[in-house]
């Protein structure tokens, strides 16, 4: 095998089909950027979940004298009820940790949260806010068990899984992810069709050489290698484009827009090391995809086979 010769054949092939090769590179690049965007989104969802699920818990709000519905009936929770509820929570195997938030603490949080609207604070007394048990679960997925065990008990106004409050956000992120994947598949198919045609045209434009190679006994590998390398190189360049693309997404979108806008959740965003990993995946994917497509195209074309 004379590798320099194979390489020079490959370069001749690439130059001959320059516009088509460019089209392959660009479509492979664009489709991989979309794949990369989907991967970044899914990584982002994981990071957000990891961040928020560490913080959120099930909140068991106790009755106040303004809770009109059963089981409160305008009666604030009694100390006896508090003790019972606290024991019931401690008895649940799913519970990892529980702490009590008094009315005064609730009022403090309320004031922090609404410090920009003093009118609201002035019209609220600590007595109007419910005290509550904040329950941290071993497994946040099992909140339903805890909720059904505690709601309806005497003195319990409401049991809320705070994770539920985040679910619209995650639904939106999942929707974006699906759109990215769907678009990626469409462009990927276009890229594959382009690779198939590029290889076929390359084979056709070199049919004379191929005919002679077969006649004098060149091996299949030797005949096909320039085309496979052509595909691999186009895939590599496309993959590198995608690497740059996801790098831009990270620096412009995440570091340029998201992070300054949500300063309090620094750890909840996709990091450069996530993006580096995704980028390498994209390059490998680009090379593999175009080489495999080129290989299959050659296998199904009789021109290059003995």
């Amino acid at each position: 095998m004379r590798f320099r010769l194979v390489l020079s054949e490959m370069m001749i092939g690439l130059r001959r089909n320059l516009t088509l090769t460019l089209a392959v590179i660009i479509t492979v690049g664009v489709s991989l950027v979309l794949v990369g965007a989907a991967l970044i989104l899914s990584r982002q969802v994981d990071r957000l979940k990891g961040y928020w699920y560490d913080k959120v818990e099930v909140t068991v709000s106790l009755c106040t004298n303004t809770d009109t519905q059963a089981p409160c009936n305008d009666q604030p929770a009694t100390d006896a009820q508090r003790t019972q509820i606290s024991q019931a929570i401690a008895a649940l195997p799913e519970v990892q940790r529980v702490y009590y938030e008094s009315k005064q603490e609730a009022y403090q949080h309320f004031r922090d949260q609404f410090k920009d609207t003093p009118a609201l604070i002035n019209n609220t007394t600590p007595d109007q806010l419910p005290d509550s048990y904040r329950v941290k679960l071993r497994n946040p997925q099992k909140s339903a068990i805890v909720i059904s065990a505690l709601s309806g008990r005497p003195g319990v106004a409401e049991v809320v899984d705070q994770r539920e409050l985040l679910s619209p956000l995650f639904r939106m992120l999942h929707a974006f992810q699906k759109i990215a994947i769907g678009t990626a598949i469409g462009v990927l198919l276009a890229a594959i069709a382009l690779i198939v045609n590029t290889i076929r045209i390359a084979v056709f434009s070199r049919r004379r050489e191929i005919g002679i190679m077969r006649l004098v006994g060149a091996s299949n590998l030797y005949i096909e290698l320039p085309f496979l390398l052509e595909g691999a190189l186009a895939g590599l360049v496309g993959g590198l484009l995608a690497l740059v693309g996801v790098g831009l997404i990270e620096s412009v979108l995440v570091h340029g827009q998201l992070k300054p806008a949500f300063q309090f959740t620094q750890t909840a965003f996709v990091t450069w090391s996530d993006v580096r990993f995704i980028g390498i995946e994209l390059v490998v994917l680009g090379v593999l995809m175009s080489t495999i497509v080129a290989f299959l195209t050659l296998s199904f074309s009789r021109a290059t086979r003995v």
Binding site: L5, I212, V216, G217, A218, Y222
Partner: protein, 229 residues
Amino acid sequence: MISFDRVTKKYPTQTRPALDTVSVEVAKGEFVFLVGQSGSGKSTFLRLVLREEKTNHGTIHVAGKDLARLASWKVPGLRRQIGTVFQDFRLLPNKTVTENVAFALEVIGRPRHQIAKVVPEVLQLVGLQGKGERMPDELSGGEQQRVAIARAFVNRPMILLADEPTGNLDPATSVGIMKLLDRINRVGTTVLMATHDAAIVDSMRRRVVELEGGHVVRDQSRGVYGYSH
């Protein structure tokens, strides 16, 4: 060297077989003319020897190998022992004479120094010394065919197949090509030549196998083109 044993070859799109129970033995070092009208099966015969096609029935042995049992990855190895020349030369127009001949060695992985040594030798053999840097379109038809023969012979094959090698050449040039093929045969190469050219067959007085409608209708050891009986 080449043996056909009751070989039948039928192409899927045709009703009549291209070759029908053909048995032919060609010994090492023989010179054989394959004659017959267009469509008589000459080209199919050559394609079968090259394993471009497979038989439907019967067995073919070439250089000791049973072609039906030859794995497809071994086909290139078979073809390296066979040189082939065509009526239309099949040279690469963008390569010089030397490059055209060297190409056949490069693509089977021969080392550069060996190529640099044997290509001028074979050009000398076919009478093209000093024309190595010419492009094919600067050469006459006869010279182009010499380049093609040089390319077919540069790897010193055991068998040389020639499919109407003089079909595009005038009679005087054809005689030169035949002399060259004769010389190649005399160094021990088995030559199998399909042709329409009666004058050449008559003048060479070599073995003639005549095909008609896929059958061998004549096999004479020192034959002429037409029927001699």
